[in-house]
């Protein structure tokens, strides 16, 4: 069934979405200026990764961003302890230790995003290889017990 063209036309465009998001942030920023500043400022490493990320679905950004958010949550606690003011947020953002912390955790996220899939692939490949060996061993046992005749593949060439 084809989609209703009118409905499709009513869907908000990407540009509109960004404007709405910006307005939402500005509104929240107006209500919670300290938190907003700290979050926007603290998520800069994620933004950088987002700009560099060429993977489909921005999976590296999600990983690094999650780690960035994890680190930011500690800063937010600091902010809450200092009264959630804009000054407190500026003070935290001005502290290079905190920046180092943010960048280190985000970098770790980026590192994990780069190495973990390769590791997983390696593990799975090794597991498959082991499985293939077991299959071949079992096949060899079957051939030894029942003869080459069982390797006849119907209507197909025998695999090399």
């Amino acid at each position: 069934m084809s989609k209703d063209p009118n409905k499709q036309a009513k869907k908000p465009s990407k540009k509109n979405k960004s404007i709405v998001s910006l307005l939402l942030i500005l509104m929240i920023g107006a209500i919670f200026p300290g938190i907003t500043l700290l979050v926007v400022g603290g998520m800069i490493p994620t933004a950088v990764v987002w700009l560099m990320d060429r993977t489909r679905g921005k999976l590296t950004t999600i990983t690094a961003g999650s780690m960035n958010a994890l680190a930011l949550s500690f800063l937010l606690i600091q902010l809450f302890d200092n009264g959630q003011t804009l000054q407190a947020a500026i003070k935290i953002l001005s502290n290079p230790v905190y920046w180092f912390f943010l960048l280190a955790v985000s970098g770790f996220g980026w590192f994990v995003a780069q190495t973990m899939p390769v590791f997983i692939v390696g593990v799975i490949t090794a597991r498959d290889k082991n499985r293939l060996n077991k299959i071949r061993t079992r096949q060899q046992m079957l051939v030894e017990e029942w003869g080459e005749g069982i390797t006849e593949v119907p209507n197909e060439k025998k695999p090399q």
Binding site: T60, T63, N68, P117, V118, E145, W146, P159
Partner: protein, 680 residues
């Protein structure tokens, strides 16, 4: 009847050496040969019954001779004072001959032969009393043989034994030891038999024996028979041209007292020849009178063939078979037809010949069209004569003996095969006056023709030989020296041969064409469907299984004793047959069992192991399951080994997704914990 399977070993002949035969009922004295009782194809030795049978005569049949075993059942029932009493037979190893030979045990004749040689002269028989005694004893003897269901075929003075010195009463000698009529002198043969090859004269008819009685009487009356010194062709020519009576007398005057009976006994026309009852009437004093024999028409002008001229149609037919090319030409160019119509004046015969030539063309097999035309023409011209084709000149019932001799000598049976394939006997039967009388033999040969058409082991020319000559031993080179007449004795002989076969010996398989044909001819209920698999070139495994099936049936039915050598030979052959079992462990177990049974000589047991249906079914099921499993594994293996690059990319992406998911989860948990802390 003696069990001939228990072949004995005769030690080299010493003076007092004796061997026990026929289950110990007779002893043959090797050091006491009786050459004056020997006949062509046999050696006579003194023998004695161990249970009071008195003095007996053992006829040792020479190598290459095939006794008429099919009539032994009839012969043993003959209890006539005028026929040498046949007692028993056996097959024994004869050291001088170097192989097993048949031994026929007879009661020893009371006196010597009437004549040692047919060419000898003897005093003429002048006494009418003696003449009557001689005639009566011979005709009574022939009657007794006839009543027992057979005929003699070799009545002549060398095969008649005087009973006592005072009378001319005789005893008729052996007629079993060799092929029927084989050693009958052509002078004593009717024209038809004289024209036939000695081996293929077939069993004599009562009428043929009566003719031989007539010749014997004439020989005795004159004390000599000039014809015995003549060549066969001259004998035939003289008998046809002059008639047997005149030809045999050789110009000598026949005493008037005997002229009537001799004319009756020596009539060339079978329908005019006296029967045994006529002889009895004559001896009783009734005068029969003899009708003159139907003379073959004499042509006004002679027909020339092979450089000789012939006025007589029967002689011409005989000559045509000697010169087949010229005969074929005369048929083709119509000169024979013209001669038959114009010179002989026999339109019917000319028409019959034309039909015969046409029928020769319609038959597709058995020699060239010209050869077939000549043979069919000569059958039509001389229907009572033998069938003549290439080097064969055979009465229909004599072809079996000729074929057996041909095969036994290792000669090519091609001519005989063509002879049967060309359906000459069908034409011969249809050419007779009383076709119905020959329906049985025509049917027999049609059956043989069909056997000949099947080239597989168990059929073909070998089978035809055993079917036509039921008393023939198995002629396989592996067993022929044991002269096996029965399937049981054949199995014993095969076991003995198998003991000489080493592993890797490829001289022969246990069942060659002769053995296969012998089995099928002797065991009618044998399943012949396995026999084609015995052919050369068949898959070795199938051949071995077919061999095992046949030999197991033989052992089960005819020889229950162990046959270890034969079994081990078959076990060796069975190696390729083990492929029928897929499972290696099962195969090893079956091989072990087969070898164990082979050592015990249990061929039937070996077949049971090889042919066990439930084992086979389980093995097949296991094989199918293994095959299915292998395919599933192969599919899985292929999935693991194909498109690795794509798979790796997909895996990488999946890894990233998992990593992102876990990281996001940690992030959310951290935010939630932060919020929670703050709220608390």
């Amino acid at each position: 009847m003696a069990d001939q399977t228990a072949a004995k070993q005769a030690a080299p002949a010493g003076k007092n050496e004796r061997i026990s035969v026929c289950g110990g009922r007779y002893e043959v004295f090797l050091g006491n040969p009786l050459p004056h009782f020997s006949s062509p194809g046999t050696r006579a030795y003194a023998a004695q019954g161990t249970r009071g049978h008195g003095s007996a005569l053992a006829l040792i049949v020479e190598n290459g001779e095939f006794p008429r075993f099919e009539i032994l059942g009839n012969a043993v029932n003959i209890n006539s004072p005028y026929v040498c009493k046949f007692l028993e037979y056996d097959v024994v190893y004869w050291a001088d001959i170097g192989q097993h030979v048949p031994v026929l045990i007879y009661e020893r004749p009371g006196g010597p032969r009437l004549m040692e040689k047919l060419t000898d002269d003897r005093p003429p028989l002048n006494s009418e009393v003696h003449f009557r005694q001689l005639l009566e004893s011979m005709s009574d003897g022939i009657r007794d043989i006839y009543l027992a269901g057979t005929n003699h075929g070799r009545i002549n003075p060398t095969n008649l034994f005087t009973r006592d010195a005072s009378s001319a009463t005789v005893q008729i000698g052996d007629y079993i030891a060799t092929a029927p009529c084989k050693y009958q002198h052509p002078a004593y043969c009717t024209i038809e038999l004289a024209m036939s090859h000695p081996l293929s004269r077939g069993p004599a008819s009562a009428s043929d024996d009566i003719y031989a009685i007539g010749v014997t009487l004439m020989h005795m009356i004159f004390g000599k028979l000039p014809m015995v010194n003549m060549a066969v062709e001259d004998i035939i020519k003289a008998k046809i041209e002059k008639g047997s009576l005149m030809a045999l007398s050789g110009g000598l005057r026949i005493p008037s007292a005997y002229s009537e009976i001799l004319r009756g006994l020596l009539a060339d026309d079978v329908s005019q020849r006296w029967a045994l009852d006529d002889i009895a009437y004559w001896l009783g004093g009734r005068r029969m009178g003899s009708k003159p024999g139907a003379q073959n028409g004499k042509a006004q002008r002679a027909f020339e063939i092979g450089g000789a001229s012939y006025n007589n149609v029967r002689l011409l037919a005989h000559a045509m078979t000697k010169h087949p090319d010229a005969a074929a030409k005369s048929i083709e160019d119509g000169s024979l037809d013209r001669w038959l119509r114009r010179s002989l004046g026999n339109e019917d015969l000319a028409g019959a010949v034309a039909e015969a030539v046409a029928s020769a063309a319609s038959t597709q097999r058995g020699g060239s069209p010209a050869e077939r035309a000549v043979t069919r023409t000569t059958i039509t011209m001389d229907p009572s004569g033998p069938i003549r084709f290439r080097d064969i000149s055979s009465m229909p019932q004599g072809l079996g003996a000729l074929l057996v001799d041909t095969l036994a000598q290792g000669k090519s049976p091609r001519n005989i095969a063509d002879f049967i394939a060309a359906q000459f006997i069908l034409h011969w039967g249809n050419s007779q006056n009383l076709v119905g009388e020959y329906a049985s033999i025509m049917q027999t040969y049609e059956g043989q023709r069909m056997l000949l058409d099947r080239p597989q082991p168990g059929f073909g020319i070998e089978r035809v030989a055993y079917e036509l000559s039921p008393g023939t031993p198995c002629l396989s080179p592996m067993v022929v020296s044991a002269f096996p007449l029965t399937l049981k004795s054949m199995m014993v002989a095969l076991e003995a041969y198998a003991s000489t076969v080493e592993a890797g010996d490829t001289r022969s398989d246990p069942i060659d064409r002769h053995i296969a044909a012998f089995i099928l001819s002797r065991h009618r209920r044998m399943n012949d469907r396995v026999f084609p698999m015995l052919a050369a070139g068949t898959n070795a495994g199938q051949k071995a299984l077919a061999t095992l099936t046949v030999l197991a049936e033989m052992q089960r039915k005819y020889h229950t004793e162990p046959l270890p050598h034969l079994a081990e030979w078959v076990a060796r052959m069975l190696a390729p047959s083990m492929d029928r079992f897929h499972n290696k462990i099962l195969r090893e177990r079956v091989t072990r069992d087969i070898n164990k049974l082979a050592k015990r000589g249990d061929i039937s047991g070996m077949l049971s192991v090889m042919d066990d249906g439930s084992t086979q079914k389980k093995d097949d099921e296991g094989y199918n399951a293994a095959h299915k499993e292998w395919l599933i594994l192969e599919k899985a293996a292929r999935e693991l080994t194909t498109n690795t690059e794509v798979r790796d990319k997909a895996l990488l992406r999946q890894g990233r997704q998992v990593t992102a998911f876990v990281a996001a989860l940690l992030g959310i948990i951290a935010v939630v914990i932060t919020a929670f802390i703050k709220m608390v």
